[in-house]
Amino acid sequence: MSHDADLDELEARSVYILREARRCVTPLAMLWSIGKDSTALLWLARKAFFGSVPFPVVQLETEMELPEVYAFRDEIAAQWNLDLRIELCPPEASVDQTLPPASRAAARKTEGLKNLIAHGGYKGVLVGIRRDEQATRAKERVFSPRSFGSDWDVRNQPSEFWNHYATDVPEGTHLRIHPLLHWTEVDIWRYHERENIPFCDLYFARDGKRYRSLGEKNITVPIASNASTIGEIIAELETTREPERAGRVMDHDSEDSFERLRTSGYM
């Protein structure tokens, strides 16, 4: 393991946030999309809690993930002794039909998440989103309060400065907690490399294509790439001019599709 001051700082801050969340927000759960980011977040939780993940880990299940994703999920859940919960999302027919088609899977996940929070009574949900992924995510807080309907009131976000996080929320509301907000895509890969964190091998190129971002199989497309090691992925990212979520069809349906999803409760 090489010494890297930047990764040390990112890691220490995330560990601090995770420990604040566990101490101040109960009951607490973590979303695991089984992608590189939330798997890194699981790893950070093990760092924070000395090897164990002391809260339920939830997959919002659309039954549309690629088969490799499910295999990886089951392997890691067993290996890391996770308290894995599968929350089945409602069918596509039940979501807002005015949303563009590719956004509907995300809307299903939003509904699944709302059900999870309602049934589990969770006060906080840990989510592995980052500011550099998407412009509206860049405006998030680390501890982001959500109203009863999970709405994101972007105009009235609380102040959040220094290492102070507002963990007190009224009855009926909950917190989305984002310990990876300050990381970038390259940071995540450098951390995977340094820590030797396992990840689903769909991120590596096969026949000249690899997945840069993993989503439902009907709305995610692989990018052209020959990267077959983390080092090659990092090298590719350092020169690419493509945004990370270019292969996620839902982001590009319309100018505001992602914002609409987020204000109504998407991750």
Binding site: A5, V15, R131, V154, S159, E259
Partner: protein, 607 residues
């Protein structure tokens, strides 16, 4: 790889902050493919010329109103160094969002519009930069294309900005004439301002350094939580200053308990027996000491002073001003204290830079507050250790202010009188519980002594060390030289408090039952006992006490035979904020005792 340089871009609404950043990303070749085409399409759809700010203003409302609502952040790499640019809203109502972004910055760029000149938010943001300790500053005078890069206009505004900063004790490294929209002097040197030979914006950013908490400072770690791992209890937290190593003798503050570091804990990381500033770690101790969230870990010889009161300079974020006497929550990360606003000092309107009429504190003013807690707090000042002097003030759950500790009320308090070879922690672990001073106040006949004696019995029966101090056992000996004149009553209480503090130091729960009618006397007792002091108000009204009148004192007071009788002919100042209030009316003694017992058991629990 080093961490990114974090630069906040500040300035008045509409002066071009987001545009500057959008164009900077373009000129450093940092925009992803398709972004320019998207911006062109989005701008066209709204019928406006190409809007660079749409790179950052991603929300619909932001694009429609052409304002930044919330702080955002973008990254780019230039000549091998990474930069994180924080876009802070300039709108008045979004100052709190701006503070969220700027509090993390290493450096700041202040954007000033060439036509409008220095605006309200320019001043406010300059103030905030000073409060936050941002010393690496650059000014850009934007939209100079609108005045044909007129040198005189530039120099007039540069002078105005210089005077503004100078008034705050700040100075800019450079003042740069730019046109953000056209890309003049951001990355590419402008041909339209041949009279300017200073740095471009990107050259300025290259010269800024990452602000790091210097190594070699005194050790500070605030305990976030305590985990049990195999045979060890592990206190976790982030080192905010200094270095900790196995074998170090440390103090836990405010309790003052001493201990030796047994292990420094990490998971899946190379084993090292020390840790430095910035690291999130766990530590265990050789001695079985009580440690809890909020405790500050420091070395014995460089521990911070402890005090109840301090002065802060803070940025006031609420529309409702602070009120003398109100209680706020002061949060220093995991260390939290309830504090009373003891006094409001000078306030400054950060927009107009005018002093404000005494007692008024408008939203976004910079204000001095004297705050006073009921327990001792470890306090560093901004001058000594900025990182640990930062605090956030909350009213209910809302953040109403943020600032720094400027000075502590007095440095008289000495919590390490030690010399003892037995530590308090050791004494407490022999007893199996923490000690405390249970200070019961209330009218004569309220039931203090009855409850105190029953409490002592119950604690004793469950293996606790407890002892009641009341008028009967104290006035007979220790205070037999004192009468009942006001000065004597105060001295009586002073001695009782000091004795109670010694009992607690010795590991015993001191149960004190005295009328103690004056807030000032109880305040002195609280100071003598520190964090051990628990104020218990036995709230029985005069009528009930008088109807009981077990000693016939009320009758004698009414007849004038006994003078200065509390509740009849002398005042009783009921505690405004007791740790627990026991209502005795309509309840049995047993019920009151049980309620108090439950409170005491929580107070002395070994976590």
């Amino acid at each position: 790889m080093d961490r990114s340089l974090r630069v906040a871009v500040l300035g008045h609404v509409d002066h071009g902050k987001s545009t500057t950043i959008g164009r900077l990303l373009h000129d450093t070749d940092s925009l992803p493919d398709g972004k320019l085409a998207e911006l062109e399409a989005v701008s066209k759809r709204r019928g406006v010329p190409l809007e660079w700010s749409f790179v950052l203003d991603a929300l619909q409302a932001e694009r429609d109103q052409a304002v930044t609502i919330d702080t955002t952040r973008v990254w780019f790499t230039w000549k091998g160094r990474r930069y994180a640019i924080i876009d802070a809203p300039g709108h008045r109502e979004f100052v709190r969002n701006m503070l969220s972004g700027a509090s993390e910055a290493d450096a700041a760029v202040l954007v000033v519009d060439a036509i409008e000149g220095i605006g309200e938010q320019t001043r406010r943001h300059a103030h905030l930069a000073r409060l936050l300790g941002l010393r690496q500053l650059a000014i850009v005078i934007n939209k100079l294309d609108a005045v044909d890069f007129d040198r005189a206009t530039f120099e007039r505004l540069a002078e105005g900005a210089r005077v503004l900063l100078e008034g705050l004790g700040l100075s800019a490294r450079a003042t740069i004439p730019i046109s953000a929209r056209d890309g003049d002097n951001l990355v590419n040197r402008s041909t339209r301002a041949p009279w300017y030979d200073g740095p471009t914006l990107i050259e300025m950013l290259e010269s800024f350094e990452n602000l790091e908490t210097p190594a070699g400072g005194p050790l500070r770690m605030r305990v976030q939580d305590v985990y049990r791992l195999e045979d060890r209890r592990i206190a976790v937290g982030r080192i905010e200053s200094g270095r900790i190593a196995v074998g170090d003798r440390i103090a836990l503050l405010p309790s003052g308990a001493n201990a030796t570091v047994r292990t420094v804990e990490r998971w899946n990381a190379p084993a090292r027996d020390d840790a430095h500033v910035g690291e999130s770690i766990g530590i265990s101790f050789v001695e079985p000491i009580f440690v809890d969230r909020g405790d500050v870990v420091a070395h014995l010889d460089t521990a911070p002073p402890l005090d109840y009161g301090f002065r802060t300079v803070c940025f006031w974020l609420s529309t409702a001003p602070p009120i003398v006497g109100e209680y706020l929550l002061a949060q220093f990360g995991p260390t939290v204290a309830r504090v009373r606003v003891a006094a409001i000092g000078e306030a400054l309107d950060t927009a107009s830079l005018a002093d404000i009429a005494e007692g008024e504190v408008p939203q976004y003013a910079m204000v001095e507050l004297d705050l006073r807690g009921r327990v001792l707090l470890p306090l560093d000042t901004q001058t000594d250790l900025p990182a640990t002097s930062r605090l956030v003030l909350l009213r209910d759950a809302d953040v109403v202010g943020g600032g720094f500790v400027q000075s502590v009320a007095s440095r008289a308090t000495n919590l390490h009188p030690s010399g003892h070879l037995v530590t308090r922690g050791e004494r407490e672990s022999v007893h199996g519980h923490r000690s405390a001073v249970i200070w019961m106040t209330g009218l004569s006949g309220a039931g203090k002594s009855t409850i105190a004696m029953a409490l002592e019995r119950k604690l004793f029966a469950t293996g606790h060390s407890a002892f009641v101090l009341d008028g009967d056992n104290v006035r007979a000996g220790l205070n037999s030289d004192l009468g009942f004149a006001p000065a004597d009553r105060s001295e009586n209480l002073r001695r009782v408090a000091e004795v109670a503090a010694l009992f607690a130091e010795a590991g015993t729960i001191a149960i004190v039952a005295f009328i103690s009618p004056m807030e000032a006397d109880r305040e002195l007792a609280r100071r003598a006992c520190g964090a051990d002091f628990k104020e218990v108000y036995i709230a029985t009204d005069v009528a009930t006490c008088e109807s009981r009148d077990t000693k016939g004192l009320y009758a004698r007071a009414r007849s004038g035979e006994v003078r200065n009788f509390t509740g009849v002919s002398a005042p009783y100042e009921a505690p405004a904020d007791a740790d627990i209030t026991i209502e005795t009316r309509d309840r049995t003694v047993e019920e009151s005792v049980d309620e108090l017992l439950a409170f005491v058991k929580r107070a002395i629990a070994t976590s």
